[in-house]
């Protein structure tokens, strides 16, 4: 009876795993056998790494490995976005968790509101803005836009994490001789490290997966981010799905690695992220 029950549990979970894995395998087999669409069982019929190597080892006239440069640009943008977003959001989230101040509720509502407005509407005004400060066609401009887009959610997320830390801890540090800033840096921040990592991961993903703004703002191929590069395999008349799938794998791997690395923190690191007024 017990064995049966446990088998049942495993069967349910395994079917969920199959549901989760199926499309991923489908993309993988498409990438490995671009000329033969995968059937019911996503397994490459005639596996070859041609598409993958064509995508990854693409060179321009000067022999530069474009895709590698673009991967570098993407990584740079994504990591910088995560860093800047955390840098901006952390102190604000801390203040929103710890201090009472005039305008606190209003600013929380404003932050929440930014999450509700469809972002595409802001593309052209943003273009003009970045152009005015000379950051069009510049990875820095992209980082700035992504980071600020990621800030509101990061603030909610981190505020929840700070709420979970007893005030006693920083008060102890302050009685021990720390300034508010030292208590924040030496005691509070190290304690919320898991939440910081998870928040950084989300900011990273914001930048890593974004297409429309990157395609609009960037005009030099060597600094294209990967989603823009990928999109080029889906043209007006021709779609090179094998190449797209191959690129998709390359794009997904770093995020998967980060997820794997952070998955322990993901559970719990998220619960705190609340939107409670």
């Amino acid at each position: 009876m017990k064995v049966l029950k446990s088998l049942g549990v495993h069967a349910i979970i395994l079917s969920a795993v199959a549901f989760a894995l199926y499309p991923v395998l489908w993309v993988v087999s498409l990438a490995l056998s671009p000329n033969e669409p995968p059937g019911a069982i996503p397994w490459p019929s005639d596996p070859s790494l041609d598409a993958l190597s064509e995508v990854v080892l693409r060179q321009d006239d000067e022999g530069t490995y474009l895709f590698l440069m673009q991967t570098g640009a993407s990584l740079l943008v994504a990591f910088a976005t995560a860093f800047v977003a955390i840098l901006i959001a952390t102190p604000a989230a801390y203040a929103l968790s710890r201090f009472r101040f005039v305008g606190k509720d209003a600013s929380l509502s404003a932050l929440l509101a930014t999450q509700m407005f469809p972002g595409v509407a802001a593309a052209i005004p943003l273009y003009l803005l970045l152009d005015a400060i000379g950051l069009i066609d510049h990875l820095g401009g992209l980082v700035l836009v992504y980071a600020t887009t990621a800030v509101p959610f990061a603030i909610f997320q981190l505020r929840g994490a700070f709420d979970g830390i007893p005030r006693d801890l920083e008060e102890a540090a302050m009685v021990d001789g720390a300034t508010r800033l030292q208590a924040f840096r030496l005691v509070v921040l190290p304690t919320v490290r898991p939440a910081l990592a998870v928040t950084a991961l989300f900011a990273f993903m914001t930048a890593w997966n974004e297409f429309i703004l990157a395609a609009t703002f960037l005009s030099r191929e060597e600094i294209f981010t990967l989603p823009v590069v990928l999109q080029r395999y889906v043209g007006e008349h021709r779609a090179q799905w094998g190449h797209f799938a191959a690129g998709a794998i390359v794009v997904s791997v770093p995020v998967m690695a980060l997820f794997y690395w952070l998955q322990r923190h993901l559970v719990g690191g998220l619960t705190a992220g609340g939107v409670k007024g």
Partner: protein
């Protein structure tokens, strides 16, 4: 290093509070606290929850700024100083150990902040660890410790700093009863060893009585009474203080005082008080003795057997009453026991103030 105004008013007090007031929004938590402690004294702030004792402690630590009044530690007016400049150490109810640091680093944290030389830090940590028996735990993280061990680390962290004033915020409330008594004695011992002024907040009257050199009873944001613990116990200044100290609590009976006698309902007994008119009689459990001719009749409802004594809970003249009997006397519920008062506290029925003889 010591910024802030320095007053030169040598009255020898280690700690002096004058008319300290604090308000949170609409609620007034401290309504003008005056308090003084001599150097090396262990001051216990006791009171029911919400009485303002924790807020007062936080004002001492610098975690809250009073709206009004002054706080002096030693010779310095610290009312507006941030915590780091007050040279105080605090033990929190939750211990507030830094979860990301080992016990050793927890103990050293305050010293590191003050840029103490590494050798001195090492020496102090070893010394404190020895004092509290933490040697074997130095490289563990707080999450790997038991409740009692965490409590010791919290105290150790305060001691390592060698502050001029220790603050304890209900440090024993998260421990089980046996451990609580043990640590209580430990604190007493440390106080003797260190000879530093300590302010200790608790809501537990027994803890307060056993620890205090000077007992301060707070209620509703005002000091009801302060003084040596035994004096406060013996001569409670108000009905509240009487009821708060001692367990089981003091019983109260409405009475009428006449020439040499007190009348409670149908019962009358002798009194030495000069007071005349209505009053409230306060009787601690041990202020009555069993006497077949005693004026008071206790209708017993519940009996608690402690072995060395028996607590008889019941009603006297329609009012709840507890008497402490000898361990050999064990009445059954429903029995009537005649009692004779041997010591009587009198309180004003209106204000609750003690009626002096």
């Amino acid at each position: 290093m010591l910024a802030g105004p320095v007053t030169t008013k040598p009255d020898g007090n280690a700690l002096a509070l004058a008319d300290v007031r604090k308000q949170f929004g609409e609620t007034t938590v401290l309504k003008g606290i005056d308090l003084a402690a001599e150097d090396g004294e262990l001051v216990v702030l006791v009171g029911p929850s919400g009485c303002g004792k924790s807020t007062l402690l936080r004002c001492l630590a610098g975690l809250e700024t009073p709206d009004h009044g002054t706080i002096r530690i030693g010779e310095r007016d610290v009312t507006r100083l941030p915590p780091k400049e007050r040279d105080v150490a605090m033990v929190f109810q939750s211990y507030a150990l830094y979860p990301h640091l080992t016990v050793r680093r927890n103990l050293a944290f305050g010293l590191e902040l003050r840029k103490t030389p590494a050798r001195t830090i090492d020496k102090r940590v070893t010394e404190v660890a020895g004092m509290l028996g933490l040697e074997a735990l130095l490289d563990r993280y707080p999450r790997e410790l038991s409740g009692g061990q965490r409590q010791r680390v919290a105290m150790g962290r305060a001691i390592a700093r060698r502050p001029s004033l220790f603050l304890f915020d209900e440090p024993l409330s998260n421990l089980d009863a046996a451990l609580r008594t043990e640590v209580r004695i430990e604190i007493k011992r440390l106080h003797h060893q260190l000879r530093t002024t300590m302010v200790y907040v608790t809501h537990d009257q027994e803890e307060a009585m056993t620890l205090a050199d000077r007992l301060v009873v707070l209620n509703g944001g005002v000091v009801e009474q302060q003084g040596p613990a035994i004096d406060v116990y013996r001569e409670p200044a108000t009905r509240f203080v009487g009821s708060f100290l001692g367990s089981p609590a003091m019983s109260f009976l409405p009475a009428e005082a006449k020439e040499g006698t007190l009348t409670v309902g149908d019962a009358t007994f002798d009194s030495e008080s000069a007071h005349r008119g209505p009053c409230t009689v306060g009787l601690r459990t041990h202020d009555v003795v069993v006497d077949p001719d005693g004026p008071l009749t206790l209708e017993v409802r519940v009996v608690e057997t402690l072995g060395h004594a028996t607590h008889a809970h019941g009603v006297v003249e329609g009012h709840p009453f507890v008497a402490r009997l000898h361990g050999d006397q064990r009445p059954a519920p429903g029995d009537e026991v005649r009692l004779r008062p041997v010591y009587v506290h009198l309180f004003d029925p209106e204000s609750g103030a003690r009626i002096r003889r």
